[in-house]
Symmetry: C2
Subunit: 347 residues, 2 copies
């Protein structure tokens, strides 16, 4: 039996409590300042109000943020369950509290662009934020997995990535069940880039959903146009993978994750609204209060590609869908899929 401290009690972290407790481990679920109501509810009734599920009855202990040091006492591993918006907080407030011998696994997917146009993974970003002299093993989860279905014990396949295969194997042992299938990879940049990019491109593919539904939303969904944008997404994502130095075989995580992201949730919703002709501002108002990683990732990735294009490293014309999505989000452009820019002649 191991003790795993989850910092952040959002949907994904809380869903991971199912396989971890099922494997007989003790999970200490610590809410951030945003999760106070979740912890209160779960402690009182076992019900997680945003995951909308009863959490496991056995093996789960609840902590408010002020008790995080208690929750970290004697722990064997830490799960970082904050969204990309909470990463800096986690780095500043939590990382210094974790003993060097305790490895960290992060559910935060994504990459951050730097001034020079390069992007780094969250594990690398975490490491760059460690207090001087501190060493921690930071690992991350990538791949297609919605929290609801994980909590319902549906089959999900993900990748755990990090630099040390032995530590990855330990994490796999903590979480692997007959429904939660885990591959391991030391190609951190490849896995993280692939799964981060799918957010941006899921928004791109969803534009076709909105275009088919039409301005009044009464049209019927079409698939040829979605498939075309899906193919273009896979193409641009593969190029971006190469650009960041990740193995392009990681497109399997990106493509699977893109597939699942298009079906559900907030990214599809905003892409659909934009495709129906709503302005970005109006669409964002409709989704008020909702964390939109797709917007963050698309903006960051496009900013990175534009900088690299200025330096002559890449050509903007090789990323027409990404640039169009960025123009819609950040430059007030209307949706006008650049179909001709997708056409190629290949010898």
């Amino acid at each position: 039996m191991s003790i795993i401290t989850f910092v952040g009690a959002g949907q994904m972290a809380s869903a991971l409590a199912f396989p971890a407790t099922e494997n007989g481990h003790e999970v200490r679920l610590v809410g951030t300042h945003l999760d106070r109501d979740i912890i209160n509810s779960a402690e009182l009734t076992g019900f997680h109000p945003t995951l909308k599920r009863q959490l496991p009855k056995e093996g789960l202990k609840y902590y408010q943020l002020e008790d995080v040091e208690l929750a970290l006492d004697g722990t064997n591993a830490v799960l970082c369950g904050v969204s990309s918006f909470g990463v800096d907080w986690f780095c500043d407030q939590i990382l210094p509290l974790i003993p060097d011998t305790v490895p960290v696994l992060s559910v935060t997917k994504g990459m951050i662009d730097q001034e020079d146009g390069t992007m780094i993974t969250y594990p690398d970003y975490f490491i760059s934020k460690l207090p001087s002299g501190k060493k921690l093993s930071i690992n991350a989860i990538g791949g297609p997995c919605t929290s609801y279905e994980l909590a319902d014990k549906d089959h999900s396949a993900v990748a755990f990535c990090g630099t040390d295969m032995e530590i990855l194997r330990r994490f796999k042992k903590l979480f692997a069940t007959d429904y939660y299938h885990i591959s391991l990879s030391t190609d951190v940049v490849g896995v993280e880039c692939a799964v981060a990019l799918k957010n941006a491109y899921a928004l791109g593919v969803s534009l076709a959903v909105g275009l088919a539904l039409g301005p009044d939303g009464t049209g019927s969904e079409h698939y040829n146009s979605q498939a075309a944008l899906f193919g273009q997404s896979v193409k641009e994502m593969t190029q971006l993978l190469t650009l960041v130095g990740g193995g392009d075989e990681n497109i399997i995580y990106g493509a699977g994750d893109l597939y699942v992201t298009i079906f559900g949730g907030r990214t599809r919703k905003i892409g659909t609204l934009l495709g129906r002709g709503w302005s970005f501002e109006k669409a964002m108002t409709e989704l008020e209060g909702v964390t939109l990683e797709s917007i963050v990732i698309a903006t960051r990735t496009a900013r990175c590609v534009r900088r690299l294009a200025e330096r002559g490293v890449v050509k903007l014309k090789d990323f027409p869908l990404l640039i169009h999505v960025d123009d819609i989000i950040n430059n007030g452009a209307s949706v006008a899929i650049p179909w001709a820019a997708f056409e190629t002649e290949k010898y």
Copy 2:
């Protein structure tokens, strides 16, 4: 204005009459022996009974098979619109009638396995069947495009492939419209392999739909498991692309086509029924009379991979999803997704 003779009046060929006639060309639609009722109906009322659409009023002429030579007289290009089951008939009966100067574009997607375990594309197969001394330019269409949506002038992006870029550009000029977007590629084996394989793998992904619906069909659809099978499909398809010598960038056609195939039609239906626990025989009975290219392609590809594995060229364990689909179709296996076989350790 060019004359284009379409041999085969099925749904996809007939849908291509929309962009071709819209571009001002004369389309001569020739029914095979299977299309007699279609030609009769279209000639009488303009209605295509299986495409379920009114065909274009202008520029379209109808021919029964016995008038094929008349339809070929003075034509500038031929579209081969038969399914994979009609290819041998087309090679034997129609190819000898086509003048060497008239290029052929085939809608038949797929590859055929040969005795030695290698697979060849339909264009290469067509060429191998030409009468001695005869030379024809055989080209093919790949990529995600359902006939209904093409007929409805929704945006679709496809690839035309062949060995001569100039001829491909001529075909593009005949068919390209502001909704039918055409890339060109001389990597015939890459394009054709990618789009053929998606049939087999769409059946594989659809198993997850059936598993979620459950034996009585009342469960709700889940996406994590579909996404996992989607990712595994992209991985195996990319490996198979490399195996046949096609550029792995063609996975963009395969992935886009896989995406659209999972949503609709017969392949999803049989995959779903199999996933719900139906035997292959019972599922096939339910789909009586329906052409199932997915079954043909999965069987051929698996046979090819098994032969290559016997010769030590590939390892069966690198294609667990394909082999499982083949075992279900051809060896009486029940659905039991080999999840553990999908897990990898990547350094």
